[in-house]
Amino acid sequence: MAAGVAAWLPFARAAAIGWMPVANCPMPLAPTDKNKRQDELIVLNVSGRRFETWRTTLERYPDTLLGSTEKEFFFNEDTKEYFFDRDPEVFRCVLNFYRTGKLHYPRYECISAYDDELAFYGILPEIIGDCCYEEYKDRKRENAERLQDDLDSENNQESMPSLSFRQTMWRAFENPHTSTMALVFYYVTGFFIAVSVITNVVETVPCGTVPGSKELPCGERYSVAFFCLDTACVMIFTVEYLLRLFAAPSRYRFIRSVMSIIDVVAIMPYYIGLVMTNNEDVSGAFVTLRVFRVFRIFKFSRHSQGLRILGYTLKSCASELGFLLFSLTMAIIIFATVMFYAEKGSSASKFTSIPASFWYTIVTMTTLGYGDMVPKTIAGKIFGSICSLSGVLVIALPVPVIVSNFSRIYHQNQRADKRRAQKKARLARIRVAKTGSSNAYLHSKRNGLLNEALELMGTPEEAHVGKTTSLIESQHHHLLHCLEKTTNHEFIDEQMYEQNCLESSMQNYPSTRSPSLSSHQGLTTTCCSRRSKKTTHLPNSNLPATRLRSMQELSTIHIQGSEQPSLTTSRSSLNLKADDGLRPNCKTSQITTAIISIPTPPALTPEGESRPPPASPGPNTNIPAIASNVVKVSAL
């Protein structure tokens, strides 16, 4: 339990009053606070560092914690000082604010820690001075983006309890790592995309001559083979597209998405080709359609994250790209005009019109310099050199912005992947801590009741055996114990639960209640077999006293009487009946069940073996020594 939340324990315990009227059984006793309530205050200031300032300084800002009477809550009477259990470093900045009126943000501070401190002292971050404000806002935005990524990836990772077939299919398509089928599908489609692209390329390579005719490209020489390959690929792509269409949660949105358009454009030429006959005029247009087959290569973007990042970068840098394009266009037009008029004089000039000069300007500005168009006049050469110099500048300026955008997005993605990888380990650790706290309760329950049993047995010196828990822990456990009593069910750990489920399905145990002795034996064997199974799962709690007791064959169930015959599912009533079989004259005023299972050495209790009945009279003979309203039945 977090230390901060421990301060809320009184509240949680008080709220437990809400369970009281509903509970059927009496509550366990509360742990007593043995130490008289001492002064909890630590005599320190802001974690040990003493700051001194005038009261009027603080009262300059009456709507903050330090400037108002709220700080009286933190006043320590004994040392006559105000104690704050907070970070002294940040407190320095806070106090400087009161002194100078300007709040500064130290760059070495973590942004969320700083925000927490400001929130605690009741200071609005807007008051941060101009000198530090931009830094603060930048860091804050970065942090928010990072947390947003976290949330997004969390939402994506949530496994929904039950998905329809369609939803599982969609998930498999979107994230191939969810199942092996999805992975297989992913790799198969990737393979076929590659095959298709390679066939498209190889189709046009000249394949060697057939004697008696000119050199043919491979596509025409082995046209049947290529046609079959193409058909196969298009089949796969069509099936994939139809499956995605079927599985998509919103079909309309899916159809409009870029990837689906690429899919359609990639397979359309084939079908159009099938439909069209070998009509001479139309086949010319058809040939151009085949160009669109190259779009199949874009299908790879589903398979490559880098491609997707690139696409996303370009999309997010649209403004910078637009600017680049615009400035380039401006420069091209200017220089083309100038070059045209400069070269107008020279004869046989290639610069026949301004649009013709565009080609020269573009080639020069991008420093390609093909040399097919060259200025001949001096003026032309001068302007040509200015053109190439300025080209370098105009292109070099927006490119770093695009590059930095790409780098930021790429790193963000890396971070997301890293976080996803670490998340499993993190969650595992959190789960361990959680089960640790719930197991702590189960252990202390057993140990605590063992202590009580030992006390009642009149062996006070052994009562202190077992782990000593802090007061807060014992209060927390008492709270959980009250909840158990209210609902008449007990907390057990996962393994026990699984076993109980198995056994109850195997042995039909809960419903029969027969007071006869023979079935009592049977009942005790069933419940005891469970008991003994329970014991072997407990870690050895290192109780030296148990070694002695184990000689007397122990697994004791503590039973105090109660009057709840109507609770059929309660173990207590079952044992009550079983008890009745043995000792009818026992006082049964109140029954509450608490289960103690003391780990016995493995030699004595191999799992599943039911203890021989003669052992049962053993502890029972101890009964007279115990207080009369406590009945012990050995659960074997």
């Binding site: 901060g4 009053i17 009281m20 007593t32 609902t487």
Partner: protein
């Protein structure tokens, strides 16, 4: 001392920016779009003075100090909203799901139904629960069970409450929680509480039945010395 509301909007941030070139403005425009999304409303609530609270509740100054420190640590803004409340309460019950019961608790604490619990509400309720008379405690509990605050508890409300309590137990219980366990529990409760068998429990019936039951009386005194 009342609530102090400090709100800031992106408008202020725009005022803070010195004038920049068109090109830079173009870039900042993109940034501001994100800032608008970060727009927050900071609500700071400061509680009544220590003396007033001491007079209004049954706690001593020291106890109030301790309570406030814990409160302020979890909720620096001075109010608890339902989410935080549920999170805090869930920490005590790692086995099961405490959110439903925390929801009902929250509405029992939030007497003015504003959606947030201030320190005064918190301390007032605690004062009743820990230091109040039996009558007050029972009345508070009745208010907790009466979900729609109409003055009567009917079977559905009781079912909801009992189901919420059983939810806190979680899945791994012994004996295994069955579907009708809560309903049986509620039936027992109603048999006991509903004197005139009209299907609803009024405050008087509740008080009478609880005072007749020794178990309940005893358990109400259980948390006497919690603070």
């Amino acid at each position: 001392m009342g609530a102090v509301m400090g709100t800031f909007s992106s408008l202020q941030t725009k005022q803070r920016r010195t004038s920049k070139d068109i090109a830079w403005w173009y870039y900042q425009y993109q940034r501001d779009k994100i800032e608008d999304e970060l727009e927050m409303t900071m609500v700071c609530h400061r509680p009544e003075g220590l003396e007033q609270l001491e007079a209004q509740t049954n706690f001593t100054k020291r106890e109030l100090q301790v309570l406030y420190r814990g409160f302020k640590n979890e909720c620096p803004s001075g109010v608890v909203n339902e989410e935080t409340f549920k999170q805090i309460y869930a920490q005590f019950f790692p086995h099961g799901d405490a959110s439903t019961y925390a929801h009902y608790l929250f509405h029992a604490f939030d007497t003015t139904q504003t959606g947030s619990v201030k320190f005064e509400d918190f301390v007032t309720a605690l004062s009743i629960l820990l230091r109040g008379t039996v009558h007050e405690k029972l009345r508070w509990t009745f208010n907790l069970y009466d979900i729609n605050k109409d003055g009567y508890i009917n079977k559905e409300e009781m079912m909801d409450i009992v189901k919420a309590i059983y939810d806190m137990m979680g899945k791994y219980t012994y004996p295994v929680l069955r579907e009708d366990t809560p309903r049986q529990h509620v039936d027992v409760f109603f048999q006991k509480m509903d004197k005139n068998k009209d299907g609803i429990v009024t405050l008087d019936e509740f008080l009478e039945s609880c005072q007749e039951d020794d178990n309940i009386m005893r358990s109400l005194q259980l948390f006497q010395n919690v603070m």
